[in-house]
Symmetry: C2
Subunit: 229 residues, 2 copies
């Protein structure tokens, strides 16, 4: 059998654009680099893929090392492999994004980074490497995905109000939505369970709480339903 040794080999990393939402703003979790190149610059959390690891597994591992979270929504976006993208040699990176509930964990130093912080997507500096470009590609993918799949709920607490849901869509789509039309559309899909609970401790009329009905969604999909916002 022939061998692969004659061919050029490159280091492979996964980079993960971790999105969170805090009722105002869509945010990304970035780490501050502690070494060259790009020392002190903010960067996407990422790490090298190991020899026996699937790409998806590597992306899950990076996420788990930083946040402790497993079983979160994770989607591959694309590979970035410009010959000169890494100053120390040839590194091809596979970009993923994940959607997490922003309060599901406490931001603290992790094995892969001393400094970890949520950054508003609307106020980003220049990041290390080609990470601005990667982030843009992932954000564009999220924008598209959120309109055709009910992935937005991954970013909200289990119990949420319709206004929170609307603000989430507005933050992702970077547009304003009409309150009545938005509610009409969401409610008409029959995918929300009214929990018969109310917001508490707010200085205004409390809102109803809902949760997303995943079983019903899967049932509807099996019958040909297609989520669309």
């Amino acid at each position: 059998m022939p061998s692969l040794d004659q061919f050029f080999k490159a280091a492979i990393t996964v980079d993960n654009v971790i999105f969170g939402f805090d009722d105002d703003d869509l945010k990304v979790l970035l780490i501050q680099r502690g070494e060259e190149p790009y020392i002190n610059k903010w960067a996407l959390p990422g790490y090298f893929v190991t020899e026996d690891e699937d790409l998806d597994t590597a992306a899950e591992r990076v996420l788990a090392e930083l946040t402790g979270l497993t079983n979160v929504y994770l989607e591959q976006v694309k590979a970035f492999g410009a010959a000169k993208r890494h100053p120390l040699g040839r590194v091809i990176t596979i970009a993923y994004y994940s959607l997490i509930k922003i309060n599901a964990f406490e931001v603290k130093p992790a094995s892969i980074a001393e400094k970890v912080m949520w950054h508003s997507i609307s106020k980003l500096d220049e990041l290390a490497f080609d990470h601005n470009e990667i982030l843009e590609a992932c954000f564009a993918r999220l924008k598209r995905r959120v309109r055709g799949r009910p992935v937005g709920f991954e970013l909200l607490p289990r119990k949420f109000t319709l206004t929170q849901l609307q603000h989430l869509y507005e933050a992702i789509l970077e547009t304003e939505l009409d309150k009545r039309n938005f509610r009409k559309k969401i409610i008409s899909m029959n995918l929300l369970i009214d929990l018969n609970e109310m917001q508490e401790g707010v200085a205004h009329r409390p809102a109803k709480l809902y949760k997303f009905d995943r079983e019903k969604y899967e049932e509807f999909v099996a019958k040909g339903f297609s989520f669309e916002i």
Copy 2:
């Protein structure tokens, strides 16, 4: 400066799903493997990425070696990197698809393959490696892309009839479209130039020939227009 040598390195390939359209059928250009593994199986044309090559450049090179074509529509879809996807070792592949005018070149043996052949997308055998999965992902991407960008024209001759265009959409979307509604929609976009020429030598009423007006499309896009079918 630290070094990358401590990290695992993998061979990188690009695989290219080359689509063509012949008035009936959407087709893919496959090569028959001349060596192990998967000897004699049909496979996607692909090859190893070299040390100083961008991924996109490698995909262009593979396409050019097989077809002689350059400057064609080429889009990266995603990376495939399951640990066990290649029997001889770790090979991560970046999948692309390209859209070509099927008569733009003659199918013949090339440096990377003895046997090269167009295969109907609707009648595909089992391919080498994970190439069925790659092909599916690229086809799904094309289906989505063709509805929101005027890329379908890449698969048609420069001068085409509305019926050819409709059949192309039907082949890609795997559905039937209403002739009158389709024409109404296409014509109303004002993106086709009526060439004032007719089909010749057909045993029925000859159809008008059109070409796609790329300048107008770009002008419209600059004004906020969004292609949609």
